[in-house]
Symmetry: C2
Subunit: 130 residues, 2 copies
DNA sequence: ACACGCACTTGCATTTTGCAAGCAACACTA
DNA sequence: TAGTGTTGCTTGCAAAATGCAAGTGCGTGT
């Protein structure tokens, strides 16, 4: 994974596109290659809720394992959906946030949240756009 | 897996709810527990496109492995998103289709398809509602 | 009687996940 | 300044999911 990360980093430094092995030209399949798992969209949800620290994400009620969290954050940054930044109030802490590209996933997240609310009993709305 | 299937079947016969271990009450997390992987939504996409046979699904360009396909179809039926039926023109063939609950996933699928078309180059629309 | 297509199932190697523990860097505290 | 705590990870390992190829059972056509 280390070598993979460095490899991807070199690609970015060189301004090259990451050669993503597409399963097909289908937009659904390609989007799922980026966010199609049980954890990525939950991190994105947390970012929409204003969370930005590693510790915040790992404290979410779904209890993501820390190694998975680190892996997904790295992939989100690699794919340009999130980025690292330094908050003004705590400039020395690592922080993450959605990029503008990442924020365009809002309709996706909202449609999923709406579906869950309407079709799975026992769910409660939490994604209130702040 | 066999015992699991029979167990789930007994629950349905008894009219009981499948006790789904919720990671949290979040509608996003709960929806992802149903459709949050790389394959399930592709099968649902195919069903929206009118495909209904096992062979049709396995011939999709993403080349899902047959054991995964069987597993996902079973889970889709278990969760009430799809069902088996017998088509009029070929009554002796196994066929699957979305239930009304499954069809309510259309906004989710459409938002994902739209996002992919707008943000991933090389993708082409295929999900034309027929 | 025999081949054929369809809908899976099985076995096995590889990959991903989940869990617990560990660890380096920094801040704070005594 | 030595110790303590917090943060953001990394590591090791077992368990589960995935991917691939081959095989199986069953009805159909010839």
């Amino acid at each position: 994974m280390k070598a993979k990360k460095i490899g991807a980093l070199l690609l970015r430094v060189a301004g090259m596109k990451k050669k993503q092995h597409k399963r097909s030209p289908c937009p659904v399949a390609c989007t799922l290659d980026l966010i199609g798992d049980k954890w990525t969209l939950l991190i994105i949800r947390d970012m929409f809720l204003g969370r930005c620290y590693y510790g915040d994400f790992s404290k979410s009620p779904e209890k993501i394992a820390t190694n998975i969290l680190a892996d997904r954050l790295e992939k989100l940054v690699m794919s340009g959906l999130a980025e690292k930044w330094q908050p003004n109030d705590e400039p020395n802490r690592e922080a993450y946030r959605l990029t503008s590209k990442g924020r365009t996933l809002k309709p996706v997240l909202e449609s999923i949240a709406t579906w869950g609310l309407n079709h799975i009993e026992g769910t409660e709305a939490r994604l209130k756009p702040k």
